[in-house]
Symmetry: C2
Subunit: 630 residues, 2 copies
C-alpha cells in the first residue's frame, strides 16, 4: 500500500515522490515547489490553486474546494493543493498566481504623476421631500439639487438606475450619495453618505496575462493588484492563432470575449480581496490591450486585423456599460476602453507613450514595448512615429528548445568565461535550473559572441575546443547546464536553431527601430532616452541587449526600463480625465508606419540578422569586443 | 346530427343559430355581425381573428391558423373565424381590431403641419478601400467620408453596430447607406443605396388601447395604421389597479412591461403589413402614453404615482434602444419616449397640447382630453396650467348597468320626446341595440333634464307618468329600449345609479376646469377655443355636453373635437426635431396644479355635482331650457 507516487510540478518539471494519501500541498513542500497559502494547508484561504493534469490520479473534488473555486475553474481541473490527495503518479500545473518566491511577472510599471480628476465623482445630497406643493418628479428633484449644490447643469440619468430611482430615494429617506460619470450622467445612487468610497479598476489585457489594479479614486493610490494568465490561451498562444479561431464563427468570437471578461473578473476579485474592497464601489474600469485583445474583449469582428492592410474596426476609445460586457464592478459602472493606434499598435502602446511621457518632452526618445509583437516609437512632443515589429515569442521562451517563461527555476542570467567556455548562471528563486527564459537568451547570445562561440552570422564555431559543444540530431548545440546540475536531470542547451530564433526576433525589432529612425531622419546619437517596456524588458542586461543588436548602440545610462506601462497607462486615464484626453489625442497624433510597406524593409531586415548588425559602424561600442570581423 | 348550435357574439351579445360544422365566420355573416376579412373566409388573409370563450366547443387549432396567429394569441384562445368550426353552443368575442363597419375607435387626430426633419437620416456613401498607404480604421474611414460629404463633425457609432461594421463594410464592398440618429450617432449600415427606405413608428399607449402609425420619414405621410386593446387589461382596467398589481413585485412590473411591448409589436406588425413595410427600415419609434403607461413600458417602479403627492420618477423624455425594450423595429433603432408633465398628466397630454397648438397661439384655450383620467389645460402661448381630473370610466361605459364601449350595437345617440317621454336612438352600425356607450349617456342625461325626467340633483322624478319609469331591486330606472327592440332581448335602461356615475364623472371634470379657470383668473367668456380630445370626445353632442355641465357654457362654434391627439403628438415628434424640442420644452413649461391640494376643491366639486351646476349663472344658455329651478 505504501507504494510511492511520483508528483511532477509544471512548468518547472520538478519531481518528487510521495506516499499515497499525501496532499499535493505537502508534496510540493517536500520537493521545494513554492505554493501560496495563508492558512498553511487548512483549506480555509483558497490560495493554493493548482491544475491537475490527470484528474483520475487524485480524489474527487471536495465541498471545501467547491466553496473556493469557480465552476469554470472546476471544469478546467483547478483544485486546492491542500485538499487534493494523490492516488497515482500525477502531474500538477502550478499557475503563476499560486507561485511564491521572486515573481518575474511584470505587473507594475513607471507611473508619472497626473492631476487627480477621475471621470467618476461622488456627491452626498439631501433632497427636500415631495409634497403636494412641490410635486417635482424624482429625477428632476435630484437634478435640481445637484445643480444648486454642485453647479451641474445638464445631468442625465442612466436608464437602469432611473428604473429604481423612486425606491432608492424613498428607502434612503432622501439622504443619499450619487455617482456622476463624466460630469453628465448619474450612474449610481446609494443611501447615506458613501462619498468616500470611490474606487476604480485599471486593467491591461495582455496576450498572455491580464493584470489589474484597484485604485482608490479619492487618493489615486493603487490599493489592490491582481493578475492571471489570459484564459484565451487555450485557443492559441499568439494573437494570430486566436484571430484565426475567432474567424470561424461569431460564437467563437463570443467564446474569446467571454474568456477575457472572466479573466478580468478573476483579476478584479483578487485585487478586491487584497484591498478588502467591495466591487460595487468600483464605478469605472479602464482597459488597455493590444488591438486584437481590444477587439476580442469588445466582441468586434477581428478577422480583418489578420489580413493586409490590417485595419482595426475603430481607433477611438469606447465607452460600454460594465453590465453589458459582464464586468462585475458596480452594475451601472462604466468601462472605458483605451483608444488604439493601428491594427498592431494598440491601447497598450497608447499607455506606453502616456506613461513614459515622451509625447510631452522636447527630448528625442526611442520607446520599445517588447513582446510577441514589439511596438516601437521614435519622437518627442512635436511628433511621434510608431510601428509594430513581428518579433515573435522567442523572448518569452517559446520556440526555444529549453525555453520557458520567467518563473521559478528559469535560468535568467548567464555568463560564459572566455577561453574556458565555462558557464555561470543564476536561476529565478535560486532553484536548480529547469530551462531558459528570455533574459538568459540575450545573455547567452551576447556571451557566445564575446567568447567567439558564435560568429557575426550567429553560426556556432565548430573549431572551438569544449565538450559543451555537441551535435544532437545533426543540430549543433551548446551545453549550459549539465544533467547533474538541473532539476529535470537533463542537460539544458542552446541550439543553433534557438540562436536563429533570437536572430529573427532581434532583427525584426531592430528593423522597426531602424526604419523609424530613417523616416524621422534621426541617428542613434540624437536619442536623449531609450525606454524599454514590457515584462521581458525589465530583466535584460542592457549591455548584452546592445551587444546582440537588440537595441541601438546608445550609452547605457540613456536606457530606462519602465516595466508594464500598459497597466500604468490604464491607471493614468482612470485617475485623470486630462490623461484620458491626452490618450485620445495620442491615438490620433501618433503616426503609424506599416513596416511591410516600406521599400527598405527587406534590406534592413537582412542586415539586422547579423550580430549585432551587418554594418558594425552602427555598433561602435560593441565592435571592439568582437572576436571576429567580416 | 343536425341539432342547431347557438353562437353568441360578444361584446354585443348578438346570438344566432348555426348547424354543426358551420364556421364562426359563416355564423357571424348569418346573424349580421361584421367580421373583417380580405379573403372572404378562404383562410389566407388572417384578418378574421376572434377569441373563443369555450374552446372545447370548436375544432382544434389548424395549421393555417398557426401561420397567422402568434403563440401569445393562440394561448389566449384567438382563432381565425373562418377556420373555426362550431361543435357545441359557443361564445365568441370579436375583438375591436376584427370588427368592420363604422369604427368608433379613435385612431386619428388633428394633425398640424410641422417641418419635415426627423431625428433619423440616411446617407449613401462610397468609401475608399483601405490600402497599405491608407490604413485608417473602419469607423474613422466612414466618419471621415460623412464629414467630408455631409459635414458631420462629431459622429459616434452604436456599439452593437461597431461590432459588425468590419464585415458590413467589406460585404457591401464599401458602398453602403448609413443611418444617423440625432446628428451624432451612426446606428445602422446597410449594403447599397437604401436611402429612400426610411420609416418611423409613432405609438400611443393608452390605458385601454395601443394605436400606432408607420410613417414614411421621406414624406411625413402615415403609410400604415395599427391598433389593439392594451393587453395589460388582463391585470386591471384602470391605471390604479395596474399600479397595484405592479407594486407586488418587480416581476409583476416586468409582466406589465412585457405586455406593453408585445402590444406595441402587434400594432407594429399590423401597421407594417398594411403599409407593406419592412420593420427593419423603421429606425425610430416615438411613444406617448399617460405617466403610468410610460412607467410600465420603461419598467420604472410606478408605485409612487399612486400615493400622494403622486410624483413620477422622471419628467424629461427618455431615449432607449429598441432592442433593450424589445420593440421589433431595426435592432439598432432608437425609441424616444415623450416627456410627461406630472403623475397624472402624461406624455399623451404633451401630445394633446402639441397637436392642438394652444401653446403657440395668442388665443386663450381650454383643452380637455377626456378619458378615465381627464387632463385639462387652460392657457395660451404665454402660459398653460394643467390638471388631472379623476373622471373615471363611466364615459367608456364602465360602471353603467347597460354600459358598453363604442362598438357595433351600442346606442350612441338618444333623444327623448318631451311630454310623451318616448325615446329615439341610433346605434353604431345601425344594429339592434346591445347597450349604451358614453356619448349616449351624455344625451340621455341631457334629454332627461330637458324633459324633466330628472331634476337639478339628477334625481329621477317619480311623478312623471310613463311606463318607462320603473323600479328594479328598489333602484329607479328608465327604459330606453324595450326587450323586443334589442339584440339581447332584454330591456336597456338607465338607472338612478348610472346617473350618479355620470354626475361624479362630469363633476370631477368640471371641477378641474373651474379651478384652472379661477387660478388663471379666466372666465368662460374669455375662451377663444375649447378643444375636446380623446376617443369619447369625438362623438358627444356638444350642446348636450354643455347642458349637463360637462364643459363650460361656451358658444358651440368655439368647441373643436380633435380626436386622438396623443398619437398625432407622437407622430409630430417623430417627423420633426423641432416638434420634439417643443414637446420637451412644454413638459417643463406647462404648469401642473394638484387639484386635491386646492382649498376650494370640495366646494367646487359639490357645486359641480348639480346638473349642469349649482350656480346656474355659469350656464346661462342652458338655464332657459331647464324645466326646474332651485
Amino acid at each position: 500500500m505504501e507504494k510511492p507516487i511520483t508528483v511532477t510540478f509544471e512548468p518547472e518539471g520538478r519531481r518528487g515522490r510521495a506516499a499515497t494519501g499525501t496532499s499535493i500541498f505537502q508534496a510540493a513542500r517536500e520537493v521545494g515547489v513554492g505554493i501560496r497559502s495563508e492558512c498553511a494547508g487548512e483549506g480555509t484561504c483558497g490560495k493554493c490553486k493548482v491544475i491537475v493534469k490527470n484528474k483520475n490520479a487524485a480524489n474527487e473534488v471536495t465541498d471545501i474546494e467547491r466553496e473556493h473555486l469557480s465552476s469554470r475553474e472546476i471544469n478546467s481541473d483547478y483544485r486546492l493543493a491542500c485538499r487534493t490527495i494523490v492516488k497515482q503518479n500525477i502531474t500538477v500545473m502550478v499557475p503563476e498566481e499560486t507561485r511564491i518566491g521572486k515573481r518575474k511577472i511584470q505587473i507594475t510599471g513607471l507611473e508619472r504623476p497626473v492631476p487627480l480628476n477621475p471621470s467618476v465623482k461622488k456627491f452626498h445630497v439631501v433632497l427636500p421631500k415631495p409634497t403636494l406643493s412641490d410635486v417635482r418628479p424624482d429625477f428632476e428633484r435630484l437634478r435640481d439639487s445637484l445643480k444648486k449644490e454642485q453647479g451641474y447643469k445638464k445631468l442625465r440619468v442612466n436608464y437602469e438606475l432611473l428604473k429604481e430611482l423612486p425606491d432608492i430615494l424613498r428607502n434612503a429617506n432622501w439622504d443619499l450619495t450619487v455617482t456622476i460619470w463624466s460630469d453628465h450622467v448619474i450612474i449610481a445612487a446609494e443611501a447615506g453618505d458613501t462619498s468616500n468610497k470611490l474606487l476604480g479598476l485599471a486593467i491591461d489585457v495582455g496576450t498572455s496575462k491580464i493584470v489589474g489594479y484597484v485604485v482608490d479614486l479619492m487618493t489615486g493610490q493603487t490599493v489592490g493588484v491582481g493578475f492571471i494568465e489570459n484564459p484565451q490561451i487555450m485557443h492559441g498562444e499568439d494573437v494570430i492563432s486566436r484571430i484565426t479561431f475567432a474567424m470561424g464563427s461569431n460564437e467563437k468570437l463570443r467564446v474569446l470575449q467571454k474568456l477575457a471578461v472572466e479573466g478580468i473578473n478573476d483579476v478584479l476579485h483578487e485585487a478586491c480581496t487584497q484591498a478588502s474592497a467591495d466591487p460595487n464601489n468600483i464605478y469605472e474600469a479602464t482597459i488597455a490591450g493590444n488591438t486584437a485583445m481590444h477587439h476580442f474583449l469588445l466582441g468586434i469582428q477581428p478577422k480583418h486585423l489578420a489580413f493586409s492592410p490590417y485595419t482595426p474596426a475603430v481607433r477611438k476609445s469606447i465607452e460600454v456599460k460594465a453590465e453589458k460586457l459582464g464586468i462585475k464592478i458596480n452594475r451601472n459602472g462604466n468601462v472605458h476602453v483605451l483608444p488604439v493606434i493601428a491594427g498592431f499598435v494598440g491601447a497598450d502602446a497608447v499607455g506606453d507613450v502616456l506613461s513614459s511621457g515622451i509625447h510631452e518632452s522636447a527630448e528625442l526618445s526611442l520607446l520599445l514595448d517588447i513582446g510577441t509583437n514589439t511596438e516601437a516609437f521614435v519622437g518627442n512632443a512635436d511628433d511621434i512615429l510608431s510601428c509594430s515589429c513581428a518579433s515573435g515569442p522567442a523572448f518569452e521562451g517559446a520556440h526555444i528548445k529549453h525555453g520557458m517563461k520567467a518563473v521559478t527555476g528559469a535560468i535568467e542570467k548567464v555568463r560564459i568565461i572566455p577561453d574556458t567556455y565555462e558557464v555561470e548562471y543564476e536561476t529565478i528563486d535560486d532553484m536548480k535550473p529547469v530551462g531558459l527564459c528570455g533574459s538568459a537568451m540575450v545573455d547567452i547570445v551576447a556571451e557566445m559572441l564575446k567568447s567567439g562561440i558564435i560568429n557575426h552570422h550567429g553560426r556556432l564555431n565548430s573549431d572551438i575546443e569544449t565538450s559543451r559543444l555537441k551535435t544532437v540530431d545533426k543540430v549543433p548545440e551548446f551545453v549550459l547546464a549539465w544533467e547533474n546540475e538541473t532539476a529535470t536531470e537533463k542537460e539544458i542547451t542552446v541550439t543553433q536553431k534557438d540562436i536563429g530564433e533570437i536572430q529573427l526576433a532581434k532583427a525584426a525589432m531592430f528593423t522597426g527601430c531602424s526604419i523609424l529612425m530613417k523616416r524621422k531622419n534621426v541617428k542613434k546619437e540624437n536619442f536623449d532616452r531609450v525606454f524599454i517596456a514590457g515584462a521581458f524588458g525589465n530583466y535584460i542586461n542592457p549591455e548584452n541587449a546592445k551587444f546582440i543588436g537588440l537595441v541601438p548602440d546608445v550609452p547605457t545610462e540613456k536606457i530606462e526600463f519602465v516595466g508594464n506601462t500598459a497597466i500604468t497607462g490604464a491607471k493614468m486615464v482612470l485617475v485623470s480625465r486630462e490623461a484620458r484626453e491626452t490618450a485620445e489625442a495620442l491615438s490620433k497624433r501618433i503616426r503609424y508606419l506599416e513596416l511591410a510597406a516600406d521599400p527598405s524593409f527587406s534590406s534592413e531586415f537582412s542586415q539586422a540578422l547579423f550580430f549585432p548588425h551587418r554594418d558594425l559602424d552602427r555598433f561602435p561600442s560593441v565592435r571592439k569586443y568582437l572576436k571576429f570581423e567580416r
